[in-house]
Symmetry: C2
């Protein structure tokens, strides 16, 4: 396979940009094509049937660019429709943030008590608990849906006292469960990492699924001889299904850099 | 026209249920068909092109039920695509929450300073200011987008201290502008009415667009002899494009009653 082919990444919206950032840090010489389904975001509260249909659409869009690997940056799709992505993408490797986060969390926990926070759909699907218990059946997983974290992150209220109160509201219960590891099971949550870390308290390891998937992608490409040999850094190729207002502000918030050109695609 | 034909109401999601509730209170003997585009909610942050396409789809779904009137319960569509709904619905009357809220606000204000709160798209479109100034060019309109109010309402945090802090965050500036009237320019906001009222302070009249559109619908049906003469109360016919998790909890929160059967339609 041509190693210059891009890594395809998709998400329900812009949250997956935290994965783009993590991939750029781990694999600076890879081409990236990112599709954010901003016309139909969020996937979280929607039903499994709808989410599976959207997952097939998103994969088809990335396949036009002949990727050498697909990364599912959306926790909801990782939880409910990874098999749809695999079926729609031929025989290239497909990895999702969910399993990557689970693998890293299992490696890190010492007391076998892992907390997971995410959207309603991710938590209700119980997919993190399943993925973790497939790796180690003795681990106790305590999950909590935190629906307000996404809009708080997008409002840029990363250190506002209301965000601290909401974090208390969501995390108090999970903190009392004596976990030693907390998985950020939604790609938006790294934006609020500091508040989450301070609220959950000392001595708890935070697992960022975006970083976890980047580590796994690098290992997989390296093992199969698919790393791009060029020493050139590429600007990510951005595709969205709708150009939301404030897109450039959000891009800046997620990526810490100016927004490049973006292509609009129809879903 | 057959007066037994239903009133069609649509919204981007479930927020428009506040309009259903207001219509039921004002017109208890009318049949109601409600379509909530829960598969593609929210419209607020999306572009005008996408919102106009969705407005045409939503109208087409309601037209299958031969409504005698269409009420656009979605502020975003009222602001950006009311003409699309009019074009797609033949010659039945079409009214939107936006103009109805504007008319009532203009009637109520005494000092000619009106505040408007809503989603990013509604506020950015400047449509409330235009609608108000079309009625009275001397009125000053001060607008503020409050994107966190919708998720706070849907989380049921109607009197949480974080909600109060967020209300302070959004409303402080608008309060300093000496308005005497505040339009709730988003159908979710009546759920947070108490916090909003307490934060904005005494002596400011709150205009609920859902109540305003119900008053206008009653007048319009009455004037054109289209009121249903039956004395029977009907359960609203609910259509959604996706059945979200927690739908029954949200229905209870918005309507204060048990959720009836709901039909799933494809968009």
């Amino acid at each position: 396979m041509n190693t210059e082919r891009p890594i395809g990444i998709f998400d329900s919206g812009i949250g997956g940009l935290t994965v783009v950032k993590a991939i750029q840090a781990a694999l600076p010489f890879e081409r990236i094509v990112y599709f954010g389904d901003t016309a139909r975001v969020p996937y979280g509260p929607k039903s499994q049937i709808t989410i599976r249909k959207y997952a097939a659409d998103d994969t088809a869009i990335l396949m036009r660019y002949q990727p050498k690997m697909i990364i599912v940056a959306c926790n909801t799709v990782s939880a409910l429709a990874l098999d749809v992505v695999e079926k729609s993408s031929g025989n290239i490797p497909v990895i999702g943030v969910l399993k990557s986060g689970a693998i890293l969390a299992v490696q890190v926990t010492k007391n076998n008590r892992i907390g997971v926070i995410g959207t309603q759909a991710t938590v209700c699907s119980n997919a993190y608990a399943c993925a973790i218990n497939e790796l180690d059946a003795d681990i106790e997983v305590i999950s909590k849906a935190c629906p307000l974290f996404v809009p708080l992150a997008e409002e840029g209220l990363t250190s506002h006292s209301a965000t601290r109160l909401i974090a208390e509201h969501y995390l108090t219960e999970i903190r009392q469960q004596h976990i030693d590891t907390l998985v950020l099971g939604c790609t938006h949550y790294p934006i609020l990492r500091q508040v989450i870390e301070e609220t959950i308290g000392n001595g708890i390891s935070i697992i960022d699924s975006a970083e976890a998937v980047a580590i796994r992608a690098r290992a997989l490409l390296s093992d199969s001889g698919l790393l791009n040999r060029s020493q050139k850094a590429f600007i990510p190729h951005l595709l969205v299904s709708d150009l939301p207002q404030k897109f450039s502000v959000l891009y800046q918030l997620f990526m810490g850099s100016e927004q490049p050109d973006v292509d609009l695609v129809e879903v």
